[in-house]
């Protein structure tokens, strides 16, 4: 059976991370599953975790007045869900809903924040990796905003 430490170690997000940090991360990790349709996190709620998606699909949603809930992006196997646990005021900025049955590893953000404050090398490593994800999502958001397939283009 796969141990949490091995799953965390094999995830591309943590590739190359020192063994001591992997053990520490695995200590903050737990297996979670969400049935299709269930909300994993809600806008405004305290952000105390992040997730390594192992299987399934998650819709990131924003509720807009008169337009209902809009899916702005979907995440799937191998993706990381959630970075608000790392940035004050530690509140989710959108909703995340499992589209299908979703299995993930949840990492305790509160616990990790404390460890990052105590060990800045770990904090810098994690911040670099999250900055890369943020940069990618910013680029895809800019691309999305261009609305390149609209008839007027």
């Amino acid at each position: 059976m796969e141990t949490l430490e091995r799953i965390v170690a094999e995830h591309p997000f943590f590739a190359g991370l020192e063994e001591q940090y992997l053990q520490l991360l695995a200590g903050c990790a737990s297996n979670v599953r969400f049935e299709g349709g269930k909300y994993i996190l809600r806008e405004g709620e305290e952000a105390s975790q992040f997730f390594l998606i192992r299987h399934g699909k998650v819709a990131l949603e924003i509720a807009a007045p008169h337009r209902g809930r809009l899916t702005v992006e979907t995440l799937g196997e191998g993706d990381i869900l959630g970075w608000s646990w790392l940035i004050p005021p530690y509140h989710w900025r959108l909703d995340a809903r499992a589209v299908d049955l979703t299995r993930a590893i949840a990492l305790d953000g509160k616990c990790l924040r404390t460890k990052c404050e105590q060990n800045h090398d770990l904090g810098y490593e994690l911040l670099k990796r999250f900055a890369h994800i943020m940069e990618r999502r910013l680029e895809t958001t800019r691309f999305q905003l261009l609305d390149v397939y609209a008839a007027h283009k």
Binding site: G68, T71, E73, T74, V99, T140, Y149, A151
Partner: protein, 279 residues
Amino acid sequence: MATLPTDPMVPDPYRVGQVWKETSDTFTLALEPADGAACSGFSPGQFSMLYVFGVGELPISISGDPEDPGRLIYTVRSVGQATHALVSRKPGEMVGVRGPFGGCWPLAEARGKDVVLVAGGLGLAPLRPAIYQVLRHREDYGRLIVLYGGRSPRDLLYRKELAAWARQPDTQVLSTVDYGGLSWRGHVGVVTSLFRYVRLQPARTVAMLCGPEIMMRFVTRELESCGVQAPDIYLSMERNMKCAVGFCGHCQYGPYFICKDGPVFPYSKVRSLLEKHEI
């Protein structure tokens, strides 16, 4: 008696066979030679000039099966007077056809390699003949990966075929939309986000791209970050083509005429042009 070569400026009469509605503004037309003869052959990636008599002439990529000799298939988005007139033709009505023109997708060069096709919006239409060709000669190629991005679920072309292609061996077909409603269970996000779900083997990959130019810029960047080399990336460029044989200069793109030097170009040839504005 020797026959005279066909004048490339003179359209051949074709009859509209069938018209299918693909999306709210996009239609597929099957055209058959009015004299009942076989169609002129074409290679995947080529285009024709379609003449709606009395209205105007349009460059349209051929989107059908290159091994179907009886008809030519075109997928057309109704965005202006001439395209509206074209998609409004009824079965039995006549259309003029010139061509096929231009170069083709590098399917010969891709033999033995993985073929990655990345399409955006209507860009799936010029790539569809390449998909038919790879699937028909499956043993000649490695994996077939089709990544397709559209504006919304209702704007996706050929949805039944996409599902059928995905069931073929060694074939991965992923679609995504920029805006998905709650009933859409597929991916939401731009086409480059789909690269997260494919494992490319860059040294044995040939990529072919078709879609809005800015989309292709984003995709080439993504492919290069995955390790695919510029000479293994091909794009289909689009400009306002008129004569289709390199006389008029309407489709000039830097030192090239899209109609005769393209529309398919190796990325390495047009890379510097893509990075310049207003060309």
